[in-house]
Amino acid sequence: MSKKELGLALLLIVIGGITAALNPLFLSSVNLLNMANLIGLFGVFSIGQGLIIITGGIDLSVGSMFALLGVILVDLLVNYELPWPLAVLIIIGAGTALGLLHGLLVTRLRLQPFVVTLCGLLIYRGIARYYTEDSTMGFGYAGDLDTITWLASGRSFGIPNPFLFLVVVAVCMGVVLHRTVFGRYLYAVGRNEEAARHSGINAEGVITGAYLLGGGLAGLATVLLVFYTSSVSPSSFGNFYELYAIAAAVLGGCSLRGGEGSILGIVLGTVLLQILQNLVNILGIPSSLNFAVMGGVILLGVIADQQLGQRKQKVQLQRSQAAAAAE
């Protein structure tokens, strides 16, 4: 655990402790399980976002992807009566394909990630609304969806399944990011694409890979989210979720300049965001202030991080200056 992650964990405990002290309901099992469920839902795609941010990119399209893939998922299950494993595979595949498309636009055509995914945000939302004529899609009396409903929104051993999904995804992506060559390349490309390329690394491939993984995780998150709400209204489903993901990644130590961040950090960032949301509810703060509280905490967090980073840099610089002068 790095210092950054430790600091974040400490912040979590402090905020959690204060909230619990003000309202003991915070620690009730109902509340904790509810939070765990939300953490799972948001964590899965925040990790995807984090991988993309580590390459120095960004994905603004995930919220709209949820709407588009969500209505397609419902359509496949209800109107086309596809078996659920096939439908789920198609959705995850479609998410991966969209990620691949973003990656190729960024690396082959050298478009800016912000622009590519901003267009994605507009296009996917637009298509989803057109496709459904802006009407909410639900499951109604569709066939046998018990298994997938349980899998996506049920509990195992008393723990919400989305949370378990997050654990699995986090462990897998943690290994990928921190232990594999691909992960090493991801950091190298995010830090200094030029030097990575000069070391024979296929930088385009690595960046595209990150978008691909991000898209796949967004596909998985779509399935979980659709069964959480059990209906999709194309104009609002997943609205702003890309911003939650970016916020979680940034809180968790990812730098938008790329090359920094960890899976554990992103997960902790997601947890902190959900605690903040929960705290607003549970402490009776007007829910209209929800966003303001979140923004305020992120801002403070980033400022604190910046200040500590600057001090550290100063010390390092002094040391190296001293060493150079001593030479």
Binding site: V175, R179, T180, V181, R184, Y185, Y187, A188, R191, N192, E194, A195, A196, R197, H198, S199, G200, I201, N202, G259, Q316, Q318, R319, S320, Q321, A322, A324, A325, A326, E327
Partner: protein
């Protein structure tokens, strides 16, 4: 006559370190003072003090007979001190006039404070003419070459009516002819009564233009030389306190067969020119030429960054298709790039991750990185290359230039090189570390590696190479065998006055 600038007993103490100790020097009007010393000798600290960037811990600064106890940047500028930096400080997005007059733009429109672009151009035009610049005041700086940018910096100093101009490694990115032009300019400025402090590692330039030399060593004045005493050996003696042995070490054995052969190679930079080049195993092939002659684009092409438009590349006789650096790396053909901070290293990563960056898949078991194996490989390079760092966990950005270059080398040495292309391998590296790099290149060549060394440093080209080829405007204008090495011969070929028909670039 009262000196233009007088420093007395300047000292600077950083926590725990004495960077400068009792340095006194003076500069007269119409004089070029050469300032030499190895990296870390205190030159930069002294110049930062002169520029008002850091205050001295003790000592007196007197400019034109006036004491400046609290010199800050604004006051230094007002006192007539101007810098022409090693790393150019220009605004890429502005035009020449905007840069030259930055901070003192002519205005019109009274309280509206509009920029008067026409007046700015008119004011800058004569300055550029005086410098012999071949560009206009409204040229965007982004379109200028490094040499042209340097002229812009000097124009800025002239526009500020600077009386003391400090040139810090001004020629490190210049070609031979550009360097010659800069030196002429320095002499003109001197004739106009400007006092110049000229800092460089290239002692030939000091011999050419300096009236006096002072040398710093370990933060102290190591000595001074009068005009008639200025020569290489004396300066090197002052800098390192001992005689430097001759640069050239002959190869252990004659060059072998094979190596890297390029024929009919056409680079993207010069689509009309085909190149033939042969780098033999066991030799250091020096490559001279003006900046922009196509040397770096040739290296980039061979390494696959800008893949060739046409032509054949053979490695040890076998054809090699290079479409990306990946192909080159897989074949054992490596590039030590010109700009090591941008292209050679991931500065924020530790030494170990930089060393294994290009060979990470070699340190895996079942797809997972083996940290211990990586560490061992990196420590091996750190010891072998004598990289001065506490451990392989040290981040690359805290290392000196020479040690950073060694890390780049370590990356390639850890993976069985066949050919290494060095692009300006010792730029900005101090003399001691330079010697080490040359030694490493020679050891590599002796172990059978084919080495191409692109360099704009004449001493280096003549002193280190076994053979020299010279490029001019995208083609190889000639080659020289060791017996025929001379500054004049290289220069003639570099400006395209050689006889390429008679001199074969590749040995028969």
């Amino acid at each position: 006559m009262q000196p233009l600038l007088e420093l007395t007993g300047i000292g600077k103490t950083y926590p725990g370190v004495r960077a400068l100790d009792g340095v006194s020097l003076h500069l007269n009007r119409g004089e070029v003072l050469g300032l030499i010393g190895e990296n870390g000798a205190g030159k930069s600290t002294l110049m930062k003090i002169l520029g008002g960037v850091v205050p001295p811990s003790e000592g007196r600064i007197r400019i034109d007979g006036r004491d400046y106890p609290q010199l800050d940047v604004a006051e230094a500028t007002r006192a007539g001190i101007a810098f022409v930096h090693q790393e150019l400080n220009l605004f890429d997005n502005l035009d020449v006039a905007g840069n030259v007059l930055f901070g003192r733009e002519p205005l019109r429109g009274g309280p509206l404070r509009l920029l008067d672009r026409r007046a700015a151009r008119e004011r800058v035009k004569p300055l550029l003419a005086r410098l012999g610049a071949d560009f206009t005041p409204d040229t965007p700086v982004a379109e200028l070459s490094i040499a042209q940018r340097q002229l812009v910096e000097i124009a800025r100093a002239l526009a500020a009516e600077a009386r003391i101009i400090i040139l810090d490694e001004p020629t490190s990115s210049l070609t031979l002819s550009e360097t010659a032009r800069l030196l002429t300019l320095v002499k003109e400025l001197r004739a106009a009564g400007v006092g110049l402090i000229y800092i460089t590692h290239r002692l030939g330039e000091i011999v050419d233009c300096a009236d006096r030399v002072v040398c710093l060593r370990d933060g102290r004045l190591a000595g001074a030389l009068r005009r008639e005493e200025i020569e290489h050996a004396a300066m090197i003696r002052l800098m390192i306190g001992r005689e430097l042995r001759a640069l050239y070490t002959p190869p252990a054995r004659p060059p072998g067969e094979g190596g890297l052969q390029a024929s009919g190679l056409i680079t993207a930079a010069f689509p009309g020119r085909a190149l033939d080049l042969h780098i033999r195993p066991g030799e250091i092939l020096g490559m001279a030429g003006l900046v922009g002659a196509g040397r770096t684009s040739l290296a980039r092409t061979l390494f696959g960054i800008d893949p060739p438009l046409a032509g054949e590349i053979r490695l040890n006789g076998r054809p090699l298709a290079i479409r990306s650096p990946k192909d080159a790396v897989a074949a054992g053909l490596y590039l030590v790039p010109e700009d090591r901070k941008r292209a050679g290293l991931v500065l924020e990563m530790p030494i170990v991750e930089n060393v294994t960056l290009a060979s990470a898949p070699n340190y895996t078991r079942m797809g997972l990185m083996r940290r211990a194996a990586e560490w061992k490989a990196s420590e091996l390079q750190r010891a072998g290359l004598r990289i001065k760092a506490p451990s392989s966990a040290t981040r690359a950005n805290t290392l000196s230039g020479g040690n950073q270059q060694k890390v780049v080398l370590g990356k390639w040495l850890s993976m069985a090189p066949k050919v290494i292309l060095f692009d300006e391998p010792t730029r900005g590296i101090d003399i001691g570390a330079k010697g080490e790099i040359y030694g490493l290149m020679r050891a590599l060549a002796d172990s059978g590696v084919a080495i191409l060394m692109i360099s704009s440093d004449m001493e280096e080209v003549l002193g280190v190479s076994d053979r020299i080829v010279v490029m001019h405007e995208g083609r190889i204008s000639g080659g020289l065998e060791r017996a025929g090495f001379s500054e004049q011969a290289v220069l003639r070929l570099a400006i395209g006055q050689g006889e390429p028909a008679r001199v074969e670039a590749a040995p028969a």
